[in-house]
Subunit: 126 residues, 2 copies
């Protein structure tokens, strides 16, 4: 079973974390895969706990989707380190489980379309 | 003349800042408006300088597009404060210029599609 994790930074603003959970729910509904949110810091669950829960639900292949706009230190340095640690933790008891990270949002052409929509919403108020 | 500004956090990773400039160029090309990048911190130009340059190029209406995924403190608190300061600075010499902020990226349905694309790119590698 393949499962997805939307991995975001985590915010002190509870509504921002809740928004990530909602995005994860939508990705789950559209993909047909189990999909949960996880956070680097501040908010819960962290990625190790989210992965553990997915494995307990039967996931054998986990794809982490970094919810970051730019190739900064969180997606490029922190996330690989956390994934390496999770792989080490899984090796003994769940050696059938694989975990890997997808690309972050940076460079996707749809981002330009979102900005155009946001601009249009303001410009149409004229 | 309407001009747009893609407003991002700014990164120590130069490629991340360059990516914002490229997004701004694409938004400019697709919208037909002048569009530049500006940064909250770390990278240059800041929003006041970007706005000044657009006004010097003849912009009379400036729409700031916050390039943030979540309603955190940067888009919700820092940006309005900076815009208020810019309005004060413009009042004396360029009272014809208006500046306003659009919504950030949060909640746009295309974000789910981007995540699905990122997941598909990994899953197709099987």
């Amino acid at each position: 079973m393949t499962a997805l994790v939307v991995f975001a930074h985590g915010s002190k603003v509870d509504a921002a974390n809740q928004a990530i959970h909602e995005v994860a729910a939508r990705v789950g509904a559209k993909s047909g895969c189990a999909c949960v949110a996880a956070f680097l810091e501040i908010a819960e669950p962290g990625l190790p706990r989210a992965v553990q829960q997915l494995v307990e639900r039967g996931a054998t292949r986990i794809v982490v989707l970094p919810y970051f706009l730019a190739p900064g230190r969180h997606a490029e340095r922190d996330l690989p380190r956390i994934i390496d640690q999770i792989r080490n933790d899984l090796r003994d008891i769940h050696k059938e489980v694989t975990i890997e990270a997808a690309a972050n949002l940076d460079g996707h052409p749809a981002l330009v379309g979102i900005l155009l929509d946001r601009a249009a919403a303001v410009l149409e108020e004229l």
